[in-house]
Subunit: 131 residues, 2 copies
């Protein structure tokens, strides 16, 4: 496996940002160091890093995938399908199930930024009113 400076700057961008960031944001930050870098290079690097367990990719319903370092503490998300509100959940909540799955299927669980969808209290009310 060869090191890549793109990988380095991507990881740096992810470590520096406390929140999940989009590929566009990552691309901008990489470009600050490598002005001529191509978007596809960044996408490929992101895919490679995810493949190797360095980062994780989630769809939080923002229209673009968001990325985070695996070094950041594992946490999960409860997202309102309507208004997009995001609640962060302790990953410990799922540890038991994940362990059971690993034991049962021999899988090594990779997910540590699970996304659960629901309707927040406010949007439930609107939902009942509107149909």
């Amino acid at each position: 496996m060869r090191a890549s400076s793109v990988d380095h700057y991507i990881l740096q961008a992810l470590e520096e940002s406390s929140e999940h960031i989009t590929s566009a944001q990552i691309y901008e930050r990489v470009r600050a160091h490598l002005p001529a870098v191509n978007p596809s290079t960044v996408y490929r690097a992101l895919e490679r890093l995810a493949h190797n367990g360095k980062i994780s990719i989630s769809d939080l319903g923002r229209g673009a995938m968001v990325y985070q370092s695996m070094n950041a503490g594992a946490h999960d998300h409860l997202v309102c399908q309507r208004c997009g509100e995001i609640i962060h959940l302790e990953h410990d909540r799922f540890k038991e199930i994940f362990s059971a799955l690993e034991a049962q299927y021999g899988y090594r669980m990779v997910t540590n930024h699970l996304v659960l969808w629901g309707l927040c209290p406010a949007c439930q009310s609107e939902s009942e009113a509107g149909g």
Copy 2:
């Protein structure tokens, strides 16, 4: 809320297929009934149906979203990040956690086709061998 024949044919296509199907497959089946229908109409209908809790949308890593009827029994997926193998999980496994989340946050959980990522036994070996 107005009825739409597109909605009808989409639901029909989903009920007829035991497995998750892609938007392309759905589009083809709707077009069998409405030859001139536009892709964006189908995408919008899919979004609408998901919004109204009739169907669910999942990314199973196939390069395109897959769709399923909410009438199909709730089940979740354990997907190998490398080879794409899909294991179906009983949704009951998560019922307890979901109930706890609903109680704690007042959310109504919508997810019933959760996707968990991992590495299957075979791909773990390859992973250790290859780096």
